[in-house]
Symmetry: C2
Subunit: 221 residues, 2 copies
DNA sequence: CATTAATCTTTCCGATGGAAAGATTGGCTG
DNA sequence: CAGCCAATCTTTCCATCGGAAAGATTAATG
């Protein structure tokens, strides 16, 4: 009678919801977001799909919890990257690179963030709070650049929206590889560097004779 | 036995694949991308799901064909917008606005472009060709700005990547509404205008005393 | 020890994607 | 025109999925 104890784990084990979220993230990263089904996730942790349903109710909620975790990890990555750099501008640049690197390293997670089932989530969900948390990290780095660095606000413009849009868009396009290919890490770094430079100086291009322009006689130091 | 002729349409009707693609786009726009199932699309055109399977093989192919159509319509919209404007810069700006407007007007179509089943598509598919077609339209507008307008290329930078990333990212974030809400058309227009301005002048901001800066002492008429 | 609440499994249902086999139709060859 | 063939479409079937329901097991509480 006690022999089957080793075969099947006991009913009450550790933090099952967290385990399911972790399993979801692993599954998404390994096999793509399309394979993130209630049953597949449950199988991965040796549970019946009904057990997962018990904890999360709907698949939408499980995916939402996993996406929330992704946003939190992204926020942590941005936060960490924001500590590297001499000045505020360099630190913000580091955050942009980190965002793009995160997206390329974990394309499945980025796809999870835009899963069809998550697009109709209510606005007061923790998912949205986590998303705004990640955005706020970027926002703080941007604010530091405004106060400390050479950036100035545009009248009526929202620099955070520009930065977030640019970085997010680039990360998206790069991670899917549908628009341009990013084969080696060197090419990526160069592309990111060019992107950040373009973002700082704008499409109009560098203005000759103005401080901080690349290629001109530097007056800093 | 001729009595049931009116009840069920004949076997051979018009261009069924095109009809299915159209139905897919309608369904996606009305009920979201999650409802774009083989059976639901077939039901909408009074066909069995096996008929749709006969024409497209896998659901992935049907969605891919629909996404290709979206890219083509987007390219046409950009092309049309590129004809409005006094100079190359204004025309390019118009294209950016058109892109964002397209994404906000058809959020379901944008979601379709990033459907989980379409992320693993082969690179030589017509879907990728259509995507690059749309990008090339933007690229041409950008090139015109470089040759005709006040834009200058950055050394090592790819302005098309910047522009596409920025516009795509903003459109994405705006269409999902997760980052900022776009309620009325006026707010959208102001946000787009600010975005395009920011994209042109960069995060560093306008440089006082240089031609074309907004808000400074204008040197033009 | 008895009761209660939480956890997990088994079982069931409707819906889905896809495969298989048969029915229907248009076109093509004799 | 008759007969055959290929394309089109339907019906049927299966494995899987999400979710609901009911029962079994375990932990906590009295």
């Amino acid at each position: 009678m006690a022999g089957r104890g080793a075969k099947r784990p006991p009913y009450h084990r550790g933090n099952v919801p967290a385990t399911l979220v972790t399993a979801t993230l692993e599954l998404v990263e390994q096999s793509g977001v399309a394979s993130a089904t209630m049953r597949a996730v449950a199988r991965r942790v040796e549970l019946s799909h009904a057990a997962a349903t018990h904890h999360f109710g709907k698949l939408e909620n499980l995916l939402g919890a996993a996406a929330t975790e992704v946003y939190q990890r992204l926020a942590a990555t941005l936060e960490e990257a924001g500590t590297h750099g001499e000045d505020a501008l360099a630190r913000f640049r580091s955050m942009g690179c980190a965002y793009i690197g995160f997206a390329i390293a974990h394309p499945g997670w980025m796809q999870l963030l835009e899963h069809p089932l998550l697009l109709s989530q209510a606005e007061s969900e923790p998912l949205v709070r986590a998303a705004r948390l990640a955005r706020d990290v970027l926002q703080r780095g941007l604010d530091a650049g405004f106060e400390d660095g050479p950036m100035t606000r545009h009248p009526g413009g929202d620099a955070a929206v520009l930065a977030w849009s640019t970085v997010h868009g680039f990360a998206k396009l790069a991670s899917t590889g549908k628009l341009f290919a990013v084969d080696d890490a060197d090419a990526l770094e160069r592309a990111v560097d060019a992107l950040m430079t373009s973002m700082f100086f704008g499409l109009r291009g560098p203005v000759p004779g103005v401080d901080g322009e690349p290629g001109t006689a530097g007056s800093s130091g």
